[in-house]
Symmetry: none
Subunit: 539 residues, 2 copies
Amino acid sequence: MSKALSIFDTTLRDGTQGEGISLSADDKLKIATKLDQLGVHYIEGGIPGSNTKDIEFFRRVKDLGLRAKVTAFGSTRRKDSVAAQDANLNRIIDSGVYAATLVGKSWDFHVHTALQTSLEENLAMIFDSISYLKQKGLEVIFDAEHFFDGYKHNPEYALSVMKKAEEAGADWLVMCDTNGGTLPHEVHGIVSVLSERVKQAMLGIHTHNDCELAVANSLSAVQAGAQQIQGTINGYGERCGNANLCSIIPTLQLKMGYEVLETDKLAQLTNTARYISEIANVHMPNNQPYVGTSAFAHKGGIHVSAILRDSRTYEHVAPETVGNKQRVLVSELAGQSNIVSKAQDMGIAFDPSHEDTKQVMSKVKDLEHQGYQFEAADASLELLLREANGEITELFVFESFKMLVEKTAGRPVVSEAFVKIKIDGASVYTAAEGNGPVNALDNALRKALINYYPRLQDIHLSDYKVRVLDEMDATASKVRVLIETRDLTSSWNTVGVSSNVIEASWEALVDSIRYTLLGQTKLQGQHEVASERGGIVNH
Amino acid sequence: MSKALSIFDTTLRDGTQGEGISLSADDKLKIATKLDQLGVHYIEGGIPGSNTKDIEFFRRVKDLGLRAKVTAFGSTRRKDSVAAQDANLNRIIDSGVYAATLVGKSWDFHVHTALQTSLEENLAMIFDSISYLKQKGLEVIFDAEHFFDGYKHNPEYALSVMKKAEEAGADWLVMCDTNGGTLPHEVHGIVSVLSERVKQAMLGIHTHNDCELAVANSLSAVQAGAQQIQGTINGYGERCGNANLCSIIPTLQLKMGYEVLETDKLAQLTNTARYISEIANVHMPNNQPYVGTSAFAHKGGIHVSAILRDSRTYEHVAPETVGNKQRVLVSELAGQSNIVSKAQDMGIAFDPSHEDTKQVMSKVKDLEHQGYQFEAADASLELLLREANGEITELFVFESFKMLVEKTAGRPVVSEAFVKIKIDGASVYTAAEGNGPVNALDNALRKALINYYPRLQDIHLSDYKVRVLDEMDATASKVRVLIETRDLTSSWNTVGVSSNVIEASWEALVDSIRYTLLGQTKLQGQHEVASERGGIVNH
């Protein structure tokens, strides 16, 4: 049997059914772009039948020119109705997707209790819906909901559901462990049975983590013949989550000899996982396998001595294969190569053995330790490194700011900022209003600088994220603010950290403006927006 | 083969090797007490040979009269030395424990690289150390480090290590997947081989979660003959953690027919897990299987309709069996059933067909659409529903607030808040400082209320999340603030939304205080922490 597998990412659909996750259409487009760069084969975008945000996503995703097949999700037609008149099915077609995922019942208990219809009607619903979409030219992935529970309770019926789906032309038959309660050896047995029955359709697996076995169940299914694995980045999803693709992909590729992603793409895994957790604004557990910050962090003294002699003593794979890095928690030896390499990318030559270089690295590591997350704020890091390299980065001198927010019952809230800086030896003191504290500070600072730097009018703040860093005592905790700034052609990210969210925002804001003013031809830290969007300049 | 299994809890030893976990002797004693109530069979307390905190633990644990066997951990004797003179071994004996866990090398690569000794000397180290402790009357658990990697690279040597340990009198031979990289089918095969070779010792399994397979590997080993499972509560441990006993125990007992804990003890699992996470001061992921707050939380409208008819439609086990409970989430994906059901939980009877009810639902959905995330803010939702139900929720009248943040170069940032409210007809105007804007507002509001509501001193803000909702123009976007508040026994969540982060924080803060003051006997939106703490009142 071929060792090529298909990764079906449902972060944007099933993933969003997890508690605490809510993605806008913009969020989804960013994530889809990132997933496409990683090289997943299918990206399930959402449910056009019931979600207007998703209709917008499907409309705009066409402009991204993704290589992955974008798919829309929906149910089989309603009972006792006609497929061609089913609103959900038609919205799937209208969304213009290449492929559709249809979920249908395969557990008789559900047919009776949830759908409240007959076993025969359910089969007809499945057959009609799939053939309708096939007639319209779509690739069809059939998700057999509760397949394993269904098989355990009524194996004949569950198999007849799959047979019917295949007859209707389904390209994929996906066995879903919807309640997450099946065990790996049971999965293997059941998948093997189905594997012998199917004729032309290919098999897929979709598991949930209610017993902490979603990954094991997925691997078990692959060993028994499944060729498509449905899951989410970081295991997002309903209840305990979907199968975590960040654990499955490297295990299949590095340990089981399967072809999953293209060569070299696996090294993007950690970056992809962290990026998506930032967009989703969900804290990634440090101890997440393969991609977590602690995944290759060694603490015990004996472990550390051993890995410094040979990493294979306590590491099951080389961290770099998944884009992660080894961390030694006792000393700070890890990470120097990372910083030198980044500096090189920016055209700054740091000699790793030079004393100044060690000071810079020490400073960067110390700031990282305080919560500055430079991996999400390249522009701030670049300013720091250029400063350390002796290049001038101070264009104005900060003197003070005051920020005032007033709210009176029955009247709108008012935010005002007062900023004092020194530029070319002269003191400049401005006042500005805004619709919030950061907006007010931004307006006041620009007012102070605009006559000297008219270019500032071309830039605007396009994203603002706040994360509390220390959960011991939340209102005394440090806060990290990440700001994304854009002009017509590029974007860059800056960071600020403080126990005061206003001060942290100010820090990120000032870095953003300094970066802008230093001239874009010289600087590397920005992301070319034009190429990410395939030529789209308008935002 | 007997279906009785032995649970070996190493939360207090291997668990503490995880990044971010540090337990005092007091912490360990509290956790040991809790573990004993649950009914684990072994509690590994620490390493007396290298840790003075642990020496204190072993001294004081004797007074607790635990039923579980307390064990101390250590290495085999140093190379080229005598067991009876080994300081670590003697400290284990002096600690007075009933049983000892000795770790020894079973991978030739480690013997050469880490220990830098010969294969024969390593066998002697193992034999001498185990027999020495056996002579002293201890039960001995032998942990064969890197057993699976060792077996894959040099099966004869790995097996000879186990044979030697058994000859020396080891009661248990534990196969450790120290690097966490072995796959379930490999574990099954290797455990089966050893299972045929052992004569009188019993087998144990100790896995790590580097591939997200620690639980699957443990179950696989049990199916192949292992009778002791080593793991930690909540999967704490080095790198990606140890095998999570909270996932393993219920799966073995509820799904695989094994006898693990005494009848009725399994229902203490959720409480035990949350209590230990509080003591360890590590945030428990909401989506943790079986015991997480989201483990039985249903969000999608279709799922909710189905579970309200019959829980088995989307729950793999009844939540109460592990001491957890079902939750219905109100979100943008919610249908009417979600809201009506939540109201019922709060003791508010909404008639779904009544016009008023439809208005309430419409209001809730509209607020959700604006960004209020009630699924993460039960207390705010409850206030809203009670208000709609005609119950009084205004305890003071808001008049105004001013919030000022000042930063001068070279001086620390200053935050001050001024709050004016009317209470019992009298105007109260307070001023307070804080380490940030929200902290300052919180302090000022409490100052205004504390004389009327002294109970406020028992509560504190424990978590604070900010999310920008609309990314088109980030500094004009709406912001959602979620606040978690705690007192000694419970916690609750509130939300605020505004384009001004200060106003949004204020809104969440006021809801939090209103909720506190309305009296905890009446309200449902909090999570019971008292029962979670099993009667421990000291914090």
